[in-house]
C-alpha cells in the first residue's frame, strides 16, 4: 500500500527536497498555526494598538545595541561617552534620539493598549492571566525607561535615583534592603551605575522578551474573542441615521465653515503663530492652516455622511481646543479669552451631542468578516510601523535628544523632575509624603494587577452597570490631571 504523505511532508517535497531536509520543520503546521484567521473587528485601529509597543521594542533593541557600541558604563566616562554619542559619533545623535523617542512612544502605546483592553473588558474570564502578564510588561517598560535615563549621568539621572531610592527605602519591611540592592550600597556610587546598566541592557530586556512571548502565546491559546459591531443601518429601531439628524448637519456645516476659514488663512495670513513654544515662520503657519483646513473639510464631509470617523475627528479637535484653553488660562496667557471659551463651548456641546447619538453613526466596513493573519493583518501592522518610524524621525529632527548638565551630587537643581511618566507618582509624593506615597503606589499597582478580579466583584455587586468603566475613566483622567499639574509647577 502506497504511503500517503501528510500535509507537512507534502509541503517539504513541494518546496524543494534536500535543502529543506536540513531543517526538518513542518512548515505547513507553522503556517497553519500562525495564519489563523483573525476576527473582523481587529481591522479597527484601536484593536491593533497591542502590536505597536512590540514593534517599538524591536526598534529599542536595535538602537540600544548600536548605542552600546559607544556607551561606557563607568561613572567616570558615562557622561562623556553620551556626549560623544550626541556630538561626535556619526549619526549618534539620530540613534540616541530615536532610542529616546521610541521609549516615550512605547510607554504611550502601552498605556493606550492597556486602556483599550480595560474599556473593552478584554481582561475578563478566562483572560485574567494575560492581563497580569500585561501588567508585568507595563512595569518592565517603566523600569526600562527609568534605568535608561539613569545611565546618562546627567543631573536628572542622579537626582532621579536619589528620589527613587528614597521611595524604595520606605517600603515597609523590605525597604532598606531593596534600596541597598538598587544602589549597590548605602549611598549612590559606582555600583549604582553598574546595576542600572545591568538591569537596562540585561535583565529587563530578557524579562520583557519572555513576557512578550508569554503574552502572545496566552493570547493565541485563548484565541481572540469575536466582537461584533452592529451597523445602525441593520438595526430595526434605528430609523434615523446620523446624517439626517439636524445636530449632525449643524456640525458638518460648522466644520465646513472652519475649513473655509482655515483655507482662507492659509492663503492670506501674514502673521505667524506659536505652537508648542516655537514661533513658526509665516510659511509654516500657512501650511499648518492648510492641514487643519484639510482635516476640517474631511470632518465636514464625513459628518455629512453621518460617518463615525467624522465624529471621532470632531472629538479630537474639541479635546485639543479644550486643552489649549486650559493651558492658556493656567499660564495667564489667554489673549482672546471670550472667543476661545465660546469656541470650546460650541465644540464641547456638539461633541457631547455626537457621543449621545453615537449609535446612529455608520461605518463603511459593513459586516466584519474574519481575515487572514498573513498577509492582511501583517500589512496593517506594517503600515502602523511605517507611520511610527516616520513620526519618530520627525521627532528626532524637531526635538533631538539633548544632554543636560553633568550629575553633581553637591548641587540640587532648582527644577528637578523625573520623566513625564513618573510625574503622576512625583505629584502624589509631593502631596502626601514619603510613606503614604509608597503605600499608595503599592496599593495602586496591586489594584491594577488584580483588576480582573475586582471587576468581577463589581459585576457581582451591580450587574451590567459598568461600574469598572466609570472608575477607569476617573482614574485615567486623574492620571492626566496629576501629570499636567506636576509639569506646570
Amino acid at each position: 500500500m502506497a504511503h500517503e504523505p501528510g500535509v507537512g511532508e507534502r509541503h517539504i517535497r513541494a518546496t524543494g527536497g534536500r535543502l529543506w531536509q536540513l531543517l526538518p520543520v513542518d512548515w505547513g503546521k507553522i503556517q497553519e498555526v500562525t495564519n489563523e484567521p483573525v476576527p473582523g473587528h481587529i481591522k479597527r485601529w484601536w484593536f491593533a494598538l497591542g502590536g505597536t509597543p512590540a514593534y517599538l521594542f524591536l526598534i529599542q533593541i536595535t538602537t540600544g545595541i548600536l548605542l552600546s557600541f559607544y556607551y561606557v558604563p563607568s561613572p567616570d566616562h558615562a557622561y562623556d561617552s553620551v556626549a560623544a554619542i550626541t556630538h561626535a559619533v556619526p549619526f549618534g545623535w539620530f540613534v540616541r534620539s530615536i532610542h529616546k523617542w521610541a521609549a516615550n512612544l512605547m510607554i504611550i502605546t502601552v498605556l493606550l493598549h492597556m486602556c483599550r483592553v480595560f474599556f473593552s473588558c478584554g481582561f475578563r474570564h478566562p483572560r485574567q492571566v494575560n492581563w497580569v502578564v500585561g501588567c508585568g510588561l507595563l512595569l518592565c517598560t517603566l523600569s526600562l525607561g527609568f534605568t535608561g535615563y539613569s545611565l546618562i549621568q546627567e543631573q536628572l539621572s542622579y537626582w532621579g535615583i536619589t528620589v527613587a531610592s528614597e521611595l524604595v527605602s520606605n517600603v515597609p519591611l523590605l525597604g532598606p534592603t531593596l534600596a541597598n540592592f538598587m544602589r549597590g550600597g548605602e549611598e549612590i556610587g559606582p555600583n549604582t551605575l553598574t546595576r542600572m546598566f545591568n538591569l537596562h541592557v540585561g535583565i529587563l530586556p530578557v524579562v520583557t522578551i519572555l513576557l512578550i512571548g508569554l503574552h502572545v502565546a496566552v493570547l493565541r491559546l485563548h484565541g481572540v474573542s469575536d466582537l461584533s459591531f452592529t451597523d445602525p443601518r441593520l438595526q430595526p429601531g434605528n430609523d434615523r441615521l446620523a446624517k439626517s439628524l439636524p445636530g449632525v448637519r449643524l456640525m458638518a456645516l460648522l466644520a465646513a465653515l472652519g475649513a473655509v476659514g482655515c483655507i482662507l488663512a492659509a492663503a492670506f495670513r501674514t502673521t505667524a503663530i506659536t505652537i508648542v513654544a516655537t514661533d513658526l515662520s509665516v510659511e509654516s503657519t500657512r501650511l499648518l492652516c492648510l492641514i487643519v483646513g484639510g482635516l476640517l473639510a474631511t470632518a465636514s464631509a464625513l459628518l455629512a455622511q453621518g460617518h463615525m470617523y467624522g465624529l471621532l475627528l470632531w472629538l479630537a479637535i474639541s479635546i485639543l481646543a479644550i486643552a489649549k484653553l486650559i493651558f492658556d488660562l493656567t499660564h495667564h496667557e489667554a489673549i482672546h479669552v471670550t472667543g476661545w471659551i465660546v469656541m470650546v463651548l460650541v465644540l464641547g456641546v456638539t461633541a457631547v451631542y455626537g457621543v449621545v447619538r453615537q449609535d446612529r453613526f455608520i461605518e463603511g466596513k459593513g459586516v466584519d468578516k474574519p481575515f487572514n493573519f498573513f498577509p492582511d493583518h501583517i500589512i496593517t501592522e506594517l503600515l502602523i510601523g511605517t507611520l511610527l518610524l516616520f513620526l519618530l524621525t520627525l521627532m528626532t529632527l524637531v526635538f533631538p535628544a539633548e544632554l543636560a548638565e553633568r550629575a553633581n551630587p553637591l548641587v540640587t537643581p532648582d527644577h528637578i523632575k523625573p520623566e513625564w511618566y513618573f510625574f503622576f507618582q512625583f505629584r502624589m509624593l509631593k502631596l502626601t509624603g514619603l510613606n503614604t506615597a509608597v503605600v499608595m503606589s503599592g496599593a495602586l499597582v496591586l489594584m491594577i494587577v488584580l483588576w480582573p478580579w475586582i471587576d468581577s466583584l463589581l459585576e457581582r455587586i451591580a450587574p451590567r452597570k459598568d461600574l469598572g468603566i466609570y472608575i477607569g475613566i476617573v482614574a485615567f483622567l486623574a492620571f492626566l490631571t496629576f501629570t499636567v499639574w506636576e509639569a506646570m509647577v
Binding site: 479597527r44 493606550l112 502673521t271 496667557e333 457621543v355
Partner: protein, 538 residues
C-alpha cells in the same frame, strides 16, 4: 454600554493623553528656553493691553526692535512700549501716536518711574555729569582747533554733493557728545532749537517756559522734530528736555536693556578707551582681562543675579569691581561707579576721593574743616573696592597693591604734575602766555603731559597694566617733560627777556630753576636760559 461607546471612550482618553503630553512638553520646553527665545504669543500675552498695538505694528515696520525687546527682561515682566515711552501732556517732546501720548527719547526720569534706587545712584555719579564738559579744554579743542563754533563756507564745490555750508560743530557733536552727552534739542521753524535751557523745567521735569514750544516744527501727527545735531545721542551725561541728566541706554542698550551686555567690558569700552583714558585697553592687558577672555564661558553672564563669589568667580569685568554686587557687600549693586574709587586720576594732579554731600572732591587743607565737609572718605571707597579684591586675593596682596598704586600716583603728582602746573601757571601769571588755550606750543605739551600720558600712567597703575604704566605712561611723561615742556618753558623765558619783559622772565625763570634744582630732576644738567644766553631749540 455598547462596544461603540467604549471605543469612543478609548479614543477620547487617547487624544486627552496626547493633549496632556503636549501641555507637558510645552511647559518643559519653556522652562529650559533662554529668555530671548520665548515665543511671541507668550510675550504678547504678558504685554499690557496698551502696548499690544505698538508691537503688532512695529513687528512689521521695525521688526528688529520688537525682537530685541522680546528678549528683554522687560517683555517678560510685562513692561511694554508705553511704560517707558509714555509722555505727560506737558512734556515738550510728547505727541499722540495711535492713541498713546509718547515721546521718542526715554530719559532717566522715565526709567526712575520703576528703577528708583538705580536712578538715584546714577544721578549722584560722575557719569551723569559727563555732559558738563562744555567749556572744558577738550571742548575748546573740538570747537576751535578741530572745528569751529558755527558754520563757514566751503572752499570749493564737492562733486556729487551740494555743500552750501560747513558745520563747524560736527566733531563736537559726534566726537564729544556721543560719549559725554549733549543737550537734546527740538527743531524750531526758524531753524534754531529749543533745549532744556529754554524750557527751564522744574524739579518735576515740567517746563516752566512753554512759550518756546509754539514755534516747534511738527509733522502731521504733531510729532516734534529733534534737531539732527543733537539727536541721535546716547551720551551718558545727556542733558534731557525734562531737566534730567544722562541716558540709561548708554550702557543698557535699547531695546533689550541687556544686563548681560552691561556686564561686559566692551560696553564700557565704547568710551573708556583711546589715548586719554585707555581703561579698556589697560584692562585687556591686565591679568583680569586675560582671565576674562579665556573664561568668558564661565562668567554666567546671562544670570539674573550676578554676584561675585556666588554666581560667578572666573574673572572680573569692569562692572565686577566698580559696580556689581559681591558676597562681601551683601550683593549690593551700585550705579555710581565712583563709590569704590579712591583716587581721581582725571585732573592734572590726582586727587584723593574724599567727597562731600554733593559728591564733589573736598579740596580743603585745614584738617578740622576738611573733616566737617567730608561725607564719604577715600578710605571708605577703597574698602568697598577691597571687598571685591578679597574674593581672590589675600589682604597682604591687596594692601601691597594699593601701596604700589599710591606710590606711582604720588610720584607722578610730585615729580611732573605739580612741577608742570607751577611752571605753566607762572607763565600765565607773568603774561608769557596768552589767555587763549592751545594757541601756544607749550599748552599742547602740558595738555598731552597730564591729559594723555599722565592719565595713561596712573590708570595703568590702577588696573595693573604695566605697559600702560610705563611705556605708554611714565616714559612718555618723562619724554614730554624733559624734551618738550622744559625746553619750551626755557624758550618762553628767553623770548620774554628778549622782548623786554625781563622782570617777568626772571620770575618764571626762578620758578623753573626751583623746580629743576630739586633732587628728583637733578639727574641731568639744565642751562639757565637767562645767564647762558643759550636759546633751546624751540
Amino acid at each position: 454600554m455598547s462596544l461603540n461607546l467604549k471605543r469612543i471612550i478609548v479614543f477620547v482618553l487617547g487624544v486627552a493623553l496626547c493633549a496632556a503630553l503636549i501641555m507637558v512638553a510645552e511647559t518643559e520646553s519653556r522652562r529650559h528656553q533662554p529668555a530671548h527665545k520665548m515665543p511671541m504669543s507668550t510675550v504678547l500675552a504678558l504685554t499690557p493691553e496698551a502696548s499690544r498695538n505698538c508691537v503688532d505694528c512695529h513687528a512689521k515696520s521695525s521688526p528688529a526692535i520688537v525682537e530685541h525687546w522680546k528678549g528683554s527682561t522687560h517683555a517678560h515682566k510685562g513692561v511694554g512700549c508705553v511704560e517707558c515711552h509714555q509722555a505727560e501732556k506737558v512734556d515738550a517732546d510728547g505727541f499722540d501716536h495711535y492713541g498713546a501720548h509718547i515721546a521718542t527719547v526715554v530719559t532717566p526720569r522715565d526709567c526712575a518711574r520703576c528703577h528708583v534706587k538705580e536712578s538715584q545712584e546714577f544721578a549722584q555719579s560722575h557719569h551723569s555729569k559727563a555732559g558738563n564738559i562744555l567749556a572744558s579744554l577738550d571742548n575748546t579743542l573740538a570747537e576751535n582747533a578741530e572745528g569751529m563754533r558755527g558754520f563757514f563756507n566751503p572752499h570749493s564745490p564737492t562733486p556729487g554733493k551740494l555743500v552750501t555750508e560747513v558745520n563747524g560743530m560736527a566733531s563736537a557733536s559726534l566726537g564729544c557728545r556721543q560719549c559725554h552727552g549733549g543737550k537734546v534739542g527740538l527743531m524750531t521753524k526758524d531753524g534754531g532749537m529749543v533745549t532744556v535751557d529754554d524750557l527751564k523745567p522744574g524739579a518735576d521735569g515740567v517746563p516752566t517756559n512753554t512759550l518756546v514750544l509754539a514755534n516747534l516744527v511738527r509733522n502731521e501727527e504733531g510729532r516734534p522734530k529733534y534737531h539732527p545735531s543733537t539727536w541721535p545721542n546716547t551720551g551718558i551725561g545727556r542733558l534731557n528736555l525734562d531737566g534730567s541728566l544722562g541716558s540709561c541706554s548708554a550702557c543698557h542698550s535699547r531695546h533689550d536693556f541687556s544686563p548681560r551686555r552691561a556686564r561686559q567690558p566692551e560696553s564700557c569700552g565704547k568710551c573708556h578707551m583711546g589715548p586719554d583714558h585707555p581703561q579698556k585697553e589697560i584692562y585687556e592687558e591686565s591679568k583680569h582681562g586675560i582671565a576674562y577672555r579665556d573664561l568668558r564661558d564661565l562668567m554666567n553672564l546671562d544670570a539674573e543675579s550676578w554676584i561675585l563669589g556666588q554666581d560667578y568667580s572666573a574673572a572680573p569685568t569692569c562692572a565686577t569691581c566698580h559696580m556689581s554686587g559681591n558676597t562681601k557687600n551683601g550683593g549690593r549693586i551700585t550705579h555710581d561707579p565712583g563709590e569704590r574709587i579712591s583716587w581721581t586720576n582725571r585732573p592734572p594732579i590726582s586727587q584723593v576721593m574724599d567727597t562731600d554731600k554733593a559728591h564733589k572732591v573736598v579740596m580743603e587743607l585745614d584738617p578740622t574743616k576738611r573733616a566737617e565737609q567730608i561725607v564719604d572718605t577715600a578710605e571708605q571707597k577703597r574698602n568697598r573696592m577691597k571687598d571685591v579684591c578679597l574674593h581672590c586675593h589675600t589682604p597682604d596682596y591687596v594692601n601691597g597693591f594699593y601701596k604700589q598704586y599710591d606710590d606711582l600716583v604720588i610720584l607722578f603728582n610730585e615729580k611732573f604734575a605739580k612741577a608742570g602746573k607751577k611752571i605753566i601757571t607762572a607763565c600765565y601769571e607773568q603774561g608769557l602766555l596768552t589767555k587763549q588755550d592751545f594757541d601756544e606750543e607749550i599748552e599742547w605739551s602740558y595738555y598731552l603731559l597730564w591729559h594723555h600720558e599722565g592719565r595713561r600712567a596712573r590708570m595703568g597703575a590702577s588696573m595693573m597694566g604695566p605697559d600702560y604704566t610705563h611705556w605708554h605712561g611714565m616714559f612718555e611723561v618723562a619724554e614730554r617733560f624733559y624734551q618738550e615742556f622744559i625746553p619750551q618753558a626755557q624758550h618762553l623765558v628767553t623770548k620774554a627777556a628778549a622782548d623786554g619783559k625781563k622782570p617777568q622772565a626772571e620770575i618764571v625763570n626762578k620758578v623753573l630753576n626751583d623746580v629743576l634744582s630739586r633732587p628728583e630732576h637733578g639727574w641731568k644738567k639744565y642751562d639757565d636760559p637767562l645767564t647762558t644766553g643759550k636759546v633751546p631749540g624751540h
